[in-house]
Symmetry: C3
Subunit: 211 residues, 3 copies
Amino acid sequence: MLTIISWLDIIGVAIFAVTGALVASRKQMDIVGFVLIATFTGIGGGTIRDLLVGATPVFWVKEPLYPLTCLASAVIVYFTAHFFESRYRVLLWLDALGLAMFCITGAAKALSLGVHPGIAMVLGMISATFGGLVRDVVCNEIPLIMRREIYAIAAALGAVLYVGLVQLDLPVGIPALIAFLAAFGLRASALVWGWGFPVYKARPGRDYPNE
Amino acid sequence: MLTIISWLDIIGVAIFAVTGALVASRKQMDIVGFVLIATFTGIGGGTIRDLLVGATPVFWVKEPLYPLTCLASAVIVYFTAHFFESRYRVLLWLDALGLAMFCITGAAKALSLGVHPGIAMVLGMISATFGGLVRDVVCNEIPLIMRREIYAIAAALGAVLYVGLVQLDLPVGIPALIAFLAAFGLRASALVWGWGFPVYKARPGRDYPNE
Amino acid sequence: MLTIISWLDIIGVAIFAVTGALVASRKQMDIVGFVLIATFTGIGGGTIRDLLVGATPVFWVKEPLYPLTCLASAVIVYFTAHFFESRYRVLLWLDALGLAMFCITGAAKALSLGVHPGIAMVLGMISATFGGLVRDVVCNEIPLIMRREIYAIAAALGAVLYVGLVQLDLPVGIPALIAFLAAFGLRASALVWGWGFPVYKARPGRDYPNE
């Protein structure tokens, strides 16, 4: 299981780093901006998870492979992003992949540190969503987590399933596989069919200005 | 005293969570957005306090009651917010209540960890103001802390009074009560009468563009 | 060497605090806003460095001199900023000074905690750039790190030089001096001559809207 989790984790970092670099390309940044945003996005969620549970130094301070992965991802995107017809769709789909990976690896790391299973679910969701949130706040884009389509709940589903299934003593890799498919499937459905929850409307037709 | 502090703390979390959910309602988010923003706001200030003093895992990782309180607050607001005539005024007053509670519980927690009294005052102010700051930055509202009216200084007053009074060996609960009344009273006065400090004006009549 | 590093560190905090107060003056905040933004900026980068490596309580919780320095800087700027013809240019140049100091002190602190030299370089860069990033995000200015001109790379140069040179057993203070001159020189050149890397342009002439 450890192998599958580590494997998912480094791929997830690379994928999120690519989404960060794609946002940098949309903002027409220079190569330094690509590297910075790719790194924030790739390791941001896991960094916040580690800080919250007190697993310091955080993971990438102990393992330089992670920042190097972000660096490589940023450079590759800088020289290849123009091959894609719609970088925004690529971004959304890669973000969905990374989300489905990180809700599992985040929950797994939290469990390995002995926290309460319910909190491990929350930390899995945080790992999956905060890298993208930091990316969007720093770049002044509307955070995906704020959009109408199902997003955070897909990460929550994956984390809950994973934490629940690892209690059942299933064969190695099965909980991660099921949780991954559920989380990615839900987010993918939301992307394809625009699934979302109803938004709050107190009094239809009335606008809520900032003051 | 411990009882009063714990009691203030959980009520403060619920109150700040409600303010977060009210901002979510103003932004017409879905139920997931309500839960996320309520949770950021309810536990954000205390989380940053715990990270800064190294009290990790942070408080809510050890006590799932806190996230559950935020969850419940968000759901209740989602189904009841339309009963209020002006959700923005409710938000401002609840925020004032939470502010007056958290400056005390934050300072008390810092003192219990043995930090310098002056730093405990700063950490009390941080606990009281950062949850709301995160709420407003994530939701792209103008942070209350940036407004003209007295805000952060009310939290500072409460924290300073509390830390000062606990040195005096008063009966249990008296320092918290006095500090609460002072902080809430000052913030409430600012809300009612628009009290504020003069803003900086280098050369009246001149505008300061972004460049 | 310790003396030089500590000396650079406290001056760097004061300088960054002044840049924060200058942004507060541009935003026409009150004196409380000056103090808050000055403090975020002065101690923000070092705080994040300490959190990431797990050096908690963070440096200023153990040493009240740092917050007091920020407080004093804010008050001085509040009463003197109107003497400057262009506060924005003063801000840019002081930020460059602080940047060149913090990339060194940040890397030195990381090295003293025994982290991998490559990671010490990253942490030096983070110490130098995150205080200003927090300042700009909270104040809703375009982060300097997002601008076209060379910025983060100057901090990276200073951190890399410092970490590399301390391995060479040079006389005390020489690595810090060389690294400082290189980082400040590069950033100053970028300010004077507008040096920057080419920005990403996939298809010239096409705009990239937010959706």
